[in-house]
């Protein structure tokens, strides 16, 4: 069955080579999609085992060593091989050139190289997992990671190092593309907020990732050559490692959440048929987050023997960075006012995102507060908080965006009924899984515990129940999206009456995106400019 009569990027070649050596950003995006989905299910499998183990207070399913490897590999897989590349490398890769009216990214070969680097890095990490795993926690704190751990630290760190370069190159590519390749008339403030968010993300990737790279190099040197760099026995400073590590790893959270915010801005606008309330504020807040996000890393070190005064400065700045996020939430909500709101699946995901991100963001205020953080840091409170941001936020947006652009990517609609159900299941399952963990955390349940005191069991059982619901919620889209790729109804070019340039070309798009390059004469989200011959859905 041919998707459309005319040739598009999917039908431009079928051989393996036409995919593995492609320079088309759309195909590379699909390669990424395939890769990160694989890693998502690997990471998900680890999470499942962790949740099953925690059903009982005793350590009865797996040994402590195995448990430690499970949570470490869950974190590493999900963060470095799923979340960081998730939205930028798939949706961003697919859409940024189309949204700004370009035929491809600025450096198509480097784009392909980035994907290969991610795969190579992933293979290192997979090798480490199969060979016996790594047990340092995703944070690699010294001196445990350099001296005491007997696991595959070197292979894993190398994998992350290589994947880091994938991330740097993607960021570099996006920055140059957004600067140089915009279509005539596509001024900075006519760009969709999705592009703004990715621009901010790319800046973080380029500035932050090298610091992680050099930190890992130092750890590797220390582990391989037994020279001391962070070794306290030689007078080294383990807290210095934490500074270097979090200088990247805190902004990394923004690498995950900023693109998600970009997706949500698109969804809210499209399904309200209204420009985003306060476009400039939302765009500016992305940049503000990218800048201030770099200045708050020390809030991970409040109890680490960091100086009290440094702690206060970092706490203050952490509150400052909360404001741009609050501005976004308020503006999204205000966009609904006097809109024309329809409830297709992507919009449901967007509502879910705002809800979960609000809770995640507000609990961030708890952990930014010095007095409370002393109590809740390294407990399940923190675990719940960052899952609300990274899973509740980033993955909800990723799924919402995937549904939204699915007809553009494949030319076909997903089954609306199933999709709505999955959005609801994910939302319920997520809250059931992670809300009890806030309570657990304030009660004092430390994170990374294999065995725990029996009084915490009830809440853990609730969390595990929620996790099984959540797992079903994640499997559903996987199945019906694959199904719809072949059997879904044809979508038409612009099923949602959306404004972006990507909707003004055919679905799936032709090999070079546009038959003729567009000239832009209007701002993003001007719904009066959308051609009338839309196929209405729902």
């Amino acid at each position: 069955m041919m998707a459309t009569e005319t040739e598009n990027y999917l039908t431009a070649g079928y051989g393996l080579k036409s995919w593995l050596l492609t320079k088309d950003h759309k195909r590379i995006a699909l390669l990424y999609l395939f890769t990160i989905t694989l890693f998502f299910f690997i990471g998900g499998a680890f999470a499942t085992l962790i949740r099953i183990e925690l059903l009982t207070p005793q350590g009865d399913l797996v040994s402590s060593d195995t448990y430690n490897r499970l949570f470490t590999m869950h974190g590493i897989t999900m963060i470095f091989f799923f979340l960081i590349p998730s939205i930028p490398a798939t949706l961003g890769n697919f859409l940024i050139p189309m949204m700004i009216g370009a035929r491809d990214l600025a450096f198509p070969r480097i784009n392909l190289l980035s994907w290969y680097l991610l795969v190579v890095g992933g293979l290192f990490a997979l090798f480490a997992m199969l060979a016996g795993g790594v047990d340092t926690g995703w944070t690699f704190y010294t001196p445990y990671s350099t001296t005491y751990s007997n696991s595959w630290v070197i292979a894993t760190a190398l994998g992350i190092f290589v994947a880091g370069f994938s991330s740097i190159l993607t960021g570099l590519n996006f920055i140059v593309t957004i600067h140089r390749m915009r279509a005539p008339g596509m001024t900075w403030f006519r760009m969709p907020l999705f592009v703004w968010a990715h621009y901010a993300t790319s800046v973080i990737q380029v500035l932050g990732t090298p610091v992680l790279a050099v930190t890992l190099i130092l750890v590797l040197c220390e582990r391989v050559f037994h020279i001391g760099i962070f070794d306290p026995a030689l007078g080294g400073d383990p807290v210095l490692f934490q500074h270097l590590f979090w200088f990247y790893s805190h902004p990394a959270v923004y690498i995950m959440i900023l693109p998600a915010m970009g997706v949500i801005s698109e969804l809210i606008s499209t399904f309200s048929r209204k420009a985003i309330f306060g476009y400039h504020f939302v765009a500016g807040s992305s940049m503000a987050i990218a800048v201030f996000g770099f200045l708050v890393w020390g809030h991970h070190l409040f109890v680490s023997t960091q100086s009290v005064y440094a702690g206060m400065v970092f706490s203050f700045l952490s509150y400052a960075v909360a404001i741009p996020s609050a501005i976004k939430v308020f503006n999204w909500t205000a966009t609904l006012y006097k809109g024309s709101i329809s409830f297709e699946t992507p919009m449901l995901y967007a509502f879910g995102f705002i809800g979960l991100f609000t809770i995640g963001g507000l609990t961030g205020l708890f952990v930014a507060s010095l007095g409370i953080d002393v109590h809740v840091t390294d407990t399940y409170f923190v675990v719940a908080h960052f899952h609300y941001i990274m899973v509740g936020g980033a993955i909800m947006a990723f799924l919402g965006g995937l549904h939204f652009w699915w007809p553009k990517i494949t030319g076909r609609m997903y089954p609306e009924g199933w999709a709505k159900l999955s959005a609801a299941v994910v939302f319920v399952g997520f809250n059931l899984t992670f809300f009890p963990q806030f309570i657990l955390g304030y009660l004092g349940m430390p994170r990374r515990y294999h065995v725990y005191p029996p009084e915490f069991q009830v809440l853990h059982v609730m969390s595990t129940m929620g996790a099984s619901v959540l797992a079903v919620g994640y499997l559903m889209p996987m199945i019906y999206l694959v199904w719809s790729y072949k059997y879904g109804p044809l979508a038409g070019d612009n099923p949602y009456h959306a404004t972006g340039l990507e909707w003004r070309t055919s679905s799936p798009p032709p090999l070079h995106n546009f038959d003729e390059l567009p000239v832009v004469t209007y701002g993003a989200y001007d719904y009066t400019t959308v051609p009338e011959e839309v196929t209405s859905v729902g």
Partner: protein
């Protein structure tokens, strides 16, 4: 089955932290309800109706609105910051009369030592109503000393001392956790804090086996390691006397002046030429690798005992809280 929802509050800090927590919960609930309700109401009210497919007019936000919803949350957040920082600052400064206890973390146990010489593993007995000051270090990796009921947590870092303090306000038995991941049996590095009434604490102190107070053991080490050959009480040796050193300001060869605290003494034992006292040669050999962290703690305590404390309470004698 009973589901616990709130932890015990058993230290002077617990009510402070809890009050701040309630404030944050109130703010959070308010905004969560606000956002959820707004989305729900707006989404229903402005839903796309059949046959009304028109394009709504764009609304340009009044700048005032943006300012209001930036400034109000900022104000609320600053209250959180100031309040939290205040608690933290108090948590950082132990009172002078606090009862000192020494803690060494190692994979995977807590070793605790009292001034009077009692040693405990994974258990700590302390009197109610007295400030307790913990001086902590680790023999291997980073650990973290966490007592949820006291709302207190402090990382225990190899190669340096860290400090925390609290005043228990309730007798009872409370969890002690290691909160910083430290390897295989991280979740087994747990213990109990027993908060006793002053009388019970006295009884507990007089029972059990003891091999001299911490300072006495330190003095024995001091002689065994031949430190006493050079560091003479009357300052006649080749090295400075250690009498009255603790707590004083020491001038170094490079003209710097440092305060002689626990960390300074520890460093001088393990890395003697890092800070050489003005007018002396860097003769002292390093004791790195020859003494354990516990030995160092005993030596530190001995050096401290050479500085008479003016009004300090005799160790171990129950004295009512100063608060």
């Amino acid at each position: 089955m009973k589901i616990p929802l709130f932890p015990d509050a058993a230290s002077n800090f617990a009510p402070d932290v809890d009050h701040l927590y309630f404030y944050l919960v109130a703010v959070s609930v308010f905004f969560t309800v606000l956002i959820f309700a707004a989305i729900f109401i707006l989404a229903i009210k402005y839903r796309r109706r059949q046959g009304n497919d028109g394009i709504p007019r764009d609304i340009h936000p009044p700048i005032l609105v943006e300012i209001v919803w930036s400034v109000i949350p900022f104000g609320l957040a600053m209250v959180m910051f100031g309040w939290g920082a205040d608690i933290f600052f108090r948590e950082s400064r132990p009172p002078q009369n606090a009862l000192p206890i020494y803690v060494v973390g190692k994979q995977w146990m807590w070793k605790l030592e009292h001034m009077e010489g009692q040693r405990e593993i994974n258990e700590l007995h302390i009197p109610v109503g007295r400030p307790i000051r913990l001086t902590m270090t680790s023999e291997d990796v980073i650990h973290s000393f966490y007592v949820p009921a006291f709302r207190t947590k402090q990382d225990v870092v190899p190669g340096r001392y860290s400090t925390t303090w609290f005043t228990p306000t309730q007798t009872g038995k409370f969890h002690l956790f290691c909160a910083e991941y430290c390897g295989t049996k991280h979740s087994g590095m747990i213990g109990w804090i027993y908060v006793l009434s002053p009388e019970d604490y006295q009884n507990w102190l007089s029972g059990g086996n003891r091999t001299g107070t911490l300072a006495e053991r330190g003095e024995k080490l001091f002689n065994d390691l031949a430190c006493s050959n050079c560091h003479k009480p009357d300052n006649s040796g080749r090295c400075p006397t250690l009498v009255n050193v603790f707590g004083s300001s020491v001038k170094l060869t490079d003209g710097q002046v440092v305060k002689a605290d626990e960390a300074y003494i520890r460093e001088s034992i393990l890395r003697p030429d890092a800070k050489v006292v003005f007018g002396y040669q860097p003769l002292m050999p390093t004791f790195q690798g020859q003494v354990t962290e516990e030995d160092v703690l005993e030596l530190v305590e001995y050096v401290k005992s050479l500085t008479p404390k003016p009004p300090a309470p005799a160790p171990g004698v129950a004295q009512a809280s100063n608060r």
